[in-house]
């Protein structure tokens, strides 16, 4: 049992161990930021001093309206419905991660198998799927999300699930395209031919041989999509069609409500939720870029291409280090 666990850990950490220099730094700082947000999201009930829609303190006192940051309210209070800004930011973190996790997981479960089957079987199914996915992909993603959350909000309400599903629609085509294209090229590989020669059936080939080989680039897309999803979710909230205020705290919605405050000089209601978005998106982007630099062979080679610059200082050192590792 312990050897299995150790081997799994070894595999999981391999992208990190293979990195060098700049890429490792990017990956590490991204991971730290993301881990921080995950921790805050999980411990939200213990970190946040108030509930996200709480207008009275536990002692029964009314929370003041639009009060600047103070000892009782670390980041001040909102001008809409007098809430505690710090608590809203913390609870918003939980909402954002829940939605994004739902969206990425759902689009993985839809996009990857569809891509493998479509690429492997080909034929009319493949053509129709490619057509639909390309059409979805070419459409502006925010508009797509607007349309779907607009339609879904009647069926599923304005909660985490409906926001997650609306975002899923945007990201499914990306997994589908990548996985399908790798499957099409892997289908002709000799190991697939060998599997077929020993009499493996289609679903065995797809599940055993192709699956593991075509999901290599999925972690990169997944993290970059997660970063994008945070922004899109906030955009939906900002436009008032994402998560409804009664269901959960959401950064984008808070930003929209803070907009009139900005020109009145009340800075604390808008700055902090926005800062949370920027930090989380940056963290996820850094993880994605870092993973990309280590897992994407074309990028890795590009980094090692000999420089035309004269060798001096840190630049030459870095290039040298990279070459040794190959």
């Amino acid at each position: 049992m312990s050897t299995v666990a150790r081997r799994a850990l070894h595999r999981l950490s391999s992208p990190f161990r293979q990195t060098t220099g700049f890429a490792r730094w990017i990956l590490l700082s991204g991971l730290v930021i993301v881990a921080f947000f995950v921790l805050v999201a999980m411990l939200a009930p213990w970190i946040a001093p108030y509930d996200f829609a709480q207008t009275r303190t536990d002692a029964g006192e009314r929370i003041p309206k639009a009060a600047p940051p103070s000892a009782q309210h670390w980041l001040g209070t909102t001008s809409f419905g007098n809430y505690d800004v710090f608590s809203r930011v913390v609870w918003g973190c939980r909402t954002a991660l829940q939605v994004v996790f739902t969206a990425v997981l759902l689009s993985l479960f839809l996009g990857v198998p569809l891509g493998v089957v479509s690429g492997f079987l080909g034929g009319w199914l493949d053509r129709i799927l490619v057509l639909v996915m390309d059409a979805l992909y070419a459409f502006p993603s925010l508009l797509l999300a607007i349309v779907f959350s607009f339609l879904l909000s009647d069926q599923l309400g304005g909660g985490v699930i409906s926001a997650g599903v609306a975002l899923t629609v945007i990201y499914v085509p990306q997994y589908f395209r990548v996985v399908r294209n790798t499957t099409v090229s892997a289908r002709e590989a000799t190991y697939v031919e060998a599997a077929r020669a020993i009499g493996a059936r289609n679903h065995t080939i797809m599940g055993r041989y192709l699956f593991g080989n075509v999901i290599q680039s999925v972690p990169v897309i997944g993290t970059l999509n997660a970063a994008d999803a945070i922004g899109t979710l906030a955009a939906l909230g900002f436009l008032g069609i994402g998560i409804q205020p009664g269901d959960a705290a959401e950064w984008g919605y808070d930003l929209q409500r803070a907009l009139p405050d900005a020109s009145a000089g009340i800075w604390w209601t808008g700055v902090f939720p926005g800062l949370a978005i920027v930090l989380l998106v940056t963290g996820l982007t850094l993880v994605g870029e870092g993973l990309n630099e280590t897992m994407n062979p074309t990028l890795r080679r590009r980094r090692l291409r000999p420089f035309t610059l004269p060798p001096r200082g840190a630049v030459a050192m870095q290039a040298g280090k990279g070459q040794v590792d190959l």
Binding site: I241, L259, G265, G274
Partner: protein, 275 residues
């Protein structure tokens, strides 16, 4: 249902996007009245993005893996990471909340809208036609912050693209040849490297129309800018399905048309692409 769909397609082909339910306006009229504002904002934002993105991208590409390059790349990531409405909010906070120098929303003061007669539905042009200097200034003042906000979003992509393409074209043999002929470095950069680097940039930037549209919707909502995006948001909040469907279909048509146009332009400027 199939016949209904065909009917709908025919309507769309003749630019009939239907009517709104809540106030019975034809969607095409919304486009006529508010398209000008969206267009003004987009063009101004593009100009801002070019002004920021092009020089920074060239610098980052030229000085690869140095401190300026790192700073510019981080700037690019941050412009991407911060939602466009957050930039808008920060600008509003700084310029109208704290400094109080720029108006925080709208496309013009009420007095300007009252004075200027809508001819082209592009407020800036209308003010210019009316030869009303104050009105032109007023419109420009209102335009500055939204254009900066949306321009910043686009500039991140400009920087990335220009940087990568300058990097690639600097590795070309013809650059080496130009240098060997003793041409000044600044000239090599400007007329040899940059020229070839910009061809793919034009294409990819044209394909950013989708991003531009999404950004425009959000920017318009942030600054209460009287464009199509703002109308869309209002109809969404009214739950007016017909209006939302019409506007979204119109956006989709625009995206497709622009993509085709970009392909044609690309064929014209790049002799290697011939269909």
């Amino acid at each position: 249902m199939f016949v209904q769909y065909l009917d709908y397609l025919r309507d769309v082909a003749t630019l009939n996007f239907g009517e709104t339910i809540t106030d019975n306006r034809p969607v095409i009229e919304i486009v006529q009245n508010h398209g000008g504002a969206t267009l003004t904002l987009s063009v101004a934002a593009f100009a801002v993005a070019l002004l920021i993105g092009l020089p920074l991208g060239v610098i980052a590409g030229r000085l690869r893996d140095t401190i300026p390059d790192l700073v510019i790349r981080v700037f690019g990531i941050v412009t991407y990471a911060a939602p466009v409405f957050y930039w808008g909010l920060l600008f509003q906070l700084l310029f109208s909340g704290i400094l109080g120098v720029l108006p925080s929303s709208g496309a013009a003061s009420p007095i300007t809208i009252f004075q200027v007669e809508p001819v082209t539905h592009i407020l800036l042009l209308d003010a210019a036609i009316a030869a009303n200097g104050d009105a032109v200034l007023d419109v420009l003042e209102h335009l500055l912050m939204p254009a900066m906000t949306l321009g910043l979003l686009l500039s991140g992509i400009f920087i990335r693209l220009v940087r990568v393409n300058v990097l690639q074209s600097l590795q070309g043999d013809y650059i080496e040849a130009a240098r060997a002929r003793g041409i000044k470095e600044s000239r090599v950069l400007r007329s040899h490297a940059l020229r070839n680097a910009l061809v793919p940039v034009v294409t990819v930037i044209g394909l950013q129309i989708a991003l531009l549209l999404s950004g425009a919707i959000l920017t318009e909502a942030t600054f209460n800018w009287p464009g199509i995006g703002n109308e869309l948001v209002q109809y969404i909040n009214l739950r007016d399905y017909a209006a939302v469907q019409g506007i979204i279909t119109m956006f989709a048509v625009v995206v497709v048309v622009v993509s085709i146009l970009i392909d044609i332009v690309n064929a014209l400027i790049d002799p290697r692409v011939r269909y």
